[in-house]
């Protein structure tokens, strides 16, 4: 199979675009999709300081690499969750990427370790609070990325969520008709209220397979193993279902999520923005000051409970 843009041997076929690319043309394609996402969703400008949430996985490390290659001012935050050997390996991948790729381009890596700061790893914290590990992990990530972005004066926080992540999340929300969560599925979430950093997802146009291929082609060493805590996760089931549909009918994931965004943009224009919704329902947490729909935010409630167990 040959590349559709040049005479080189193709490295990947993209059935949803009915095209095949060699290594160089594919890399160019991925960069152009990220650039398009940044422009279309008004994510940030070259002057902005960006904080990338990195985990050691393919998406976040590739995102950091792409933003630096495109000339953006991108630093990163790694949250050490303390999940045994998995966290040791993922930390190693992040450190290696920082030393070999990011630091030479002047980028900084921030690290927050749960065991040092919260007194225990995410699994132990979840057990203490009788909550599922993935939900505890989500709370920790949201809280610390937001807090670090604000404390260190970043203009925007970027995560490596890809098209598969967003399509699977949308499927999960639609299957349960959780329409109240749909307005948070936009690839750009504004700093709607005091205490919230702007959040963006520059990989929302690219599939999980495209991101893995980008990492392999560009020799980004990432943690291939799945998080051991994700076993049995509903998101993995939704992703599997969507990939079966995608194989039978290429372009399904893209049309499912991107057409949802088009529809959402039209509806938000008539019903009011995310900003006005958040301003109506969020107030500062009485303990830490971060915005919450309750008196005390979930993170502070969790930490109070955890301290009583120590």
């Amino acid at each position: 199979m040959r590349c559709k843009k040049c005479p080189q041997r193709a490295a990947i076929k993209l059935p949803q675009h009915n095209i095949s690319y060699c290594k160089d043309c594919f890399t160019e394609f991925v960069h152009s999709q990220v650039a398009k996402a940044i422009k279309k969703q008004k994510m940030f400008t070259p002057e902005d300081r960006i904080l990338v949430a990195v985990s050691g996985g393919k998406d976040s490390l590739a995102l950091w690499a792409i933003l630096l290659k495109l000339g953006y001012r991108a630093d990163a935050l790694y949250l050490d969750l303390g999940i045994g050997n998995y966290s040791v390996q993922s930390r190693h991948k992040v450190d290696h990427f920082h030393e070999t790729v990011a630091q030479p381009r002047g980028a900084t890596l921030h690290i927050h370790t749960l065991a040092e700061n919260e007194g225990a790893g995410v699994k132990e914290l979840a057990t203490m609070m009788h909550r599922p590990t993935c939900s505890t992990c989500g709370t920790m990530k949201r809280y610390h990325f937001n807090r670090t972005a604000l404390e260190k004066d970043y203009d925007v926080m970027a995560t490596g969520h890809n098209l598969d992540d967003e399509a699977a999340r949308l499927l999960g929300n639609v299957l349960r008709w959780q329409t109240e969560f749909l307005d948070k599925q936009s690839p750009t979430l504004p700093a709607s209220v005091e205490g919230f950093a702007k959040k963006v997802k520059p990989l929302y146009r690219l599939t999980e397979r495209e991101m893995a291929a980008y990492a392999v082609i560009n020799k980004i060493s990432y943690i291939v193993d799945e998080c051991p805590m994700a076993k049995g996760s509903k998101m993995l089931v939704y992703k599997d279902v969507l990939n079966r549909l995608e194989t039978e009918s290429p372009g399904t994931k893209q049309s499912f999520y991107l057409k949802f965004l088009d529809k959402q943009a039209k509806e938000q224009a008539s019903t009011g923005s995310i900003t006005s919704h958040d301003q109506q329902r969020l107030t500062p947490c009485q303990t830490c000051g971060q915005p919450t729909s309750m008196e005390v935010c979930t993170y502070c409630k969790m930490m109070t409970k955890a301290k009583t167990h120590v």
Binding site: M1, K13, K23, D164, E208, A213, E226
Partner: protein, 78 residues
Amino acid sequence: MQTQHAPSYDAPEDMKVHLTHPPKDLDIPGPTIVRQLLQQLQLTPEAYLVIRGDDLVTEDEVLNDSDSIEIRSVISGG
């Protein structure tokens, strides 16, 4: 005492295939085409990359007995 090595008249070894998730090592006779290999293992093409050495291979590529192949799951996250 010197070890006597018997001359090797064995048939060529099968293709070495490593699956990342769940981790598994397989010996599969070649030649075969990438598309057929994924079908044989009942794997959804959209969820995997096929890697020979350091290079990605497309669905129409022929894989031979001498090849060492990784079939890498692209799915991550919970």
